[in-house]
Symmetry: C2
Subunit: 299 residues, 2 copies
Amino acid sequence: MGDLESIKVFLAVAEQRSFVAAARALSMTPPSVTRSVNALEARLGVQLLLRTTRQVSLTSAGAAYALRVAPLVQGLDDATEDLRDGQSQTAGLIRINAPMSMGERVLPDVISQFRTLHPRVSVALTLTDRLIDVVAEQTDLAIRISEPPRDKLTIWRKICRVPRLLVAAPRYLDAQGTPAAPEDLLHHTCIAYDAGAGPEVWDLAAGATRRRITAGRVLSSNNGDLTARLAVNGEGIALLPRFIVAEALATGRLRAVLPGWSPPELWLTLTYPPYDRLPTRLATFSDFFETYVTETRPM
Amino acid sequence: MGDLESIKVFLAVAEQRSFVAAARALSMTPPSVTRSVNALEARLGVQLLLRTTRQVSLTSAGAAYALRVAPLVQGLDDATEDLRDGQSQTAGLIRINAPMSMGERVLPDVISQFRTLHPRVSVALTLTDRLIDVVAEQTDLAIRISEPPRDKLTIWRKICRVPRLLVAAPRYLDAQGTPAAPEDLLHHTCIAYDAGAGPEVWDLAAGATRRRITAGRVLSSNNGDLTARLAVNGEGIALLPRFIVAEALATGRLRAVLPGWSPPELWLTLTYPPYDRLPTRLATFSDFFETYVTETRPM
DNA sequence: ATTCACTATTCCACCTTTTGCAATAATGCC
DNA sequence: GGCATTATTGCAAAAGGTGGAATAGTGAAT
C-alpha cells in the first residue's frame, strides 16, 4: 500500500464522501479502501475522516490536509505524464554537442529544418573541438568526426565516411616544392587537425600500398577551420576533411597534395549516453540527421 | 515499493550520484535502491539514470523530472509534518458552536483567555440555538446546554450542572397572582426556552416529591435571552437557566417562582465529532473550558 | 417499532511482492 | 594486470497485500 496511492485513495474518499464510491471510482474493493485510509491515518498519526456507516466526513485536519495535498499529488501526476509525453513524442530538449567546423556549416541548416518538422523540440547546441565525455558533459547527442569510438560507456551510430585529403597553399608548394611521394612529407611542415598530443603520424594508402609517415615539423590545432586557415596562409601541408577545404580548393587558395594517397577514413558518428532505450526525440533527430547528410552529401 | 518512496529513493540517488551512498543515507540496502529505481523507471517508461559501476548520472529526462518533482515531494513531507504538529501541539483552528446565550456571556472571556495561553490556536465561533449535528455542520466542538445527548454518533463530556428555575416579572405576578404549588401553573402563561415543538411539559421536584405539569398557555423561544426578555416584559412564567436570569433577579426585574420546586437539571456538555482520539487542541480547550467554568462558576 | 437496504469494517486464507544476503559482472585506479 | 568498489541479479524466507464472505452499525421506509 504505497504512500502516494493511499493519499490518492484518501482524496477520492474525501471527494466522494463515501468509501464504496471511492472504491468504484478507483476500481478497488471497499476493504482495500478502508485499509488504505487506515494505514495513511496510522502513518500520519492523525484521524482524517469521520466515518459512520451512513456518512463520511472530514475532520478539520483531514480537510486541511486534503486541501494542501491535492495540488501536490496532481503535480506529481502531471510531471509523470509530461515525462512520458516528452519521451514518446518528439518533444523536449536535445543537448547537442558538435565540432566547431560543423557548427558553422551543416548544423544550422539541419537544426532549423528539423525544428520546422518538430516545433516542440528545443535544441541546446554546444561546440567543442575535442572528444567529450557525453555523460559528464550532460549531453544528449554528440556529433563526432573521428574513428568510431571504442568506448563501452557510450552508444554510437555511424552516419557516413568523412573523406580526408592533404592540402597546401599554392604559395607554399611553390616555395617548398610539391611532394611526389609520402616520404617527401618528412621534409615539410605538417599542420595537424587533431588533439595535438604526441608526434603526428599519418597513415597513407594508395590502393594496397600503405605508408606510415611521421611528419617533420608540426603545427597543430584542434579546430578544423583554423587548421585550414593556417594552410591557406602557406604554413604547411594539412590533413583535413574534404568538406572543410572544399571551398578553398574550388577557389584555388588550396591545392590537393599527393592526390593518389589517402589517409584512413574518419567516420561521422553520433554518440549517445548509455541509454538502454533511446528517447524518441533523439532517435528522430538521429534519423533526420542521417537522411540530411546522406541526401545533401556535405562531407 | 511505494510510488512516493521510490521517487524519494530516485532523488537521493540523483543527489548523491551513487546507489550505495543513497542506500546509506536512506538506511536501505543497495539492492533495494536498485530495484526501487528500476521499478520507478518501469512505471514511468522512461530512463532516469545513466549508470556505470563507477559513475551515476542523470538523463535529461531524469534531471527535468528530479527538478520538477523534488519540491512536490518536499511539499508532501511538509504537509505531513505540519499535520502532525497541528495535532500534537495546541495549535490550529477550533470550530466551536455554542448557544447564543453563552456566546454573549462566558465565551468571549473563555476564548480570549485561552488564546492568551495558546496563541497559535484560532477559533471560529458560530452561535446556534438548536441541537446541531456536529459532523454535518463541520464543527469541532459544540457547547450544549441540554440533557446529556444519547447520540451514538458523537462523543460528549459533561462539564457541570446548569441549575434552572422558574421566574416571572413582579408586574406579571402582581397581575396574575403568584403560584403556590406546581398545579397553579396550569392557569398561567408559560414561556418555554426550548425547541418549542409539542406541548411543554415541566417536571418539578421538591425533595422526593415530583410533579409533572403540562403548561397552560405557552409562549416559546429557542433563544434564552429572548425568553428572559419576554418574562421581564411580563408575558408569563419562564423556566430558564439561572445564569441567564441572574442579573434580572438581582435587579428585581424578575422574581423566582415556586422557589422550593426545581426542574430537572440540565448539563453543560461539550460534544465532539466521533473522533477515535481527540486532537490535542480540542482536548486542551476542553480542559481549559472545564476549569474556567468550575472556577468562575458562571452557571 | 421494526424491517430493510446499504455502508464501513473485520476476519481469514491465499498469494503476490518484497527483502536481505550472497554471488556476479563491470569499471576505474593503482 | 590485479584490486577495490560499484551496480546488479538469484534465491529462499518473510512480509505484506488481496479479495470474498461475514459482521456491525446506520438511516429510511414500512
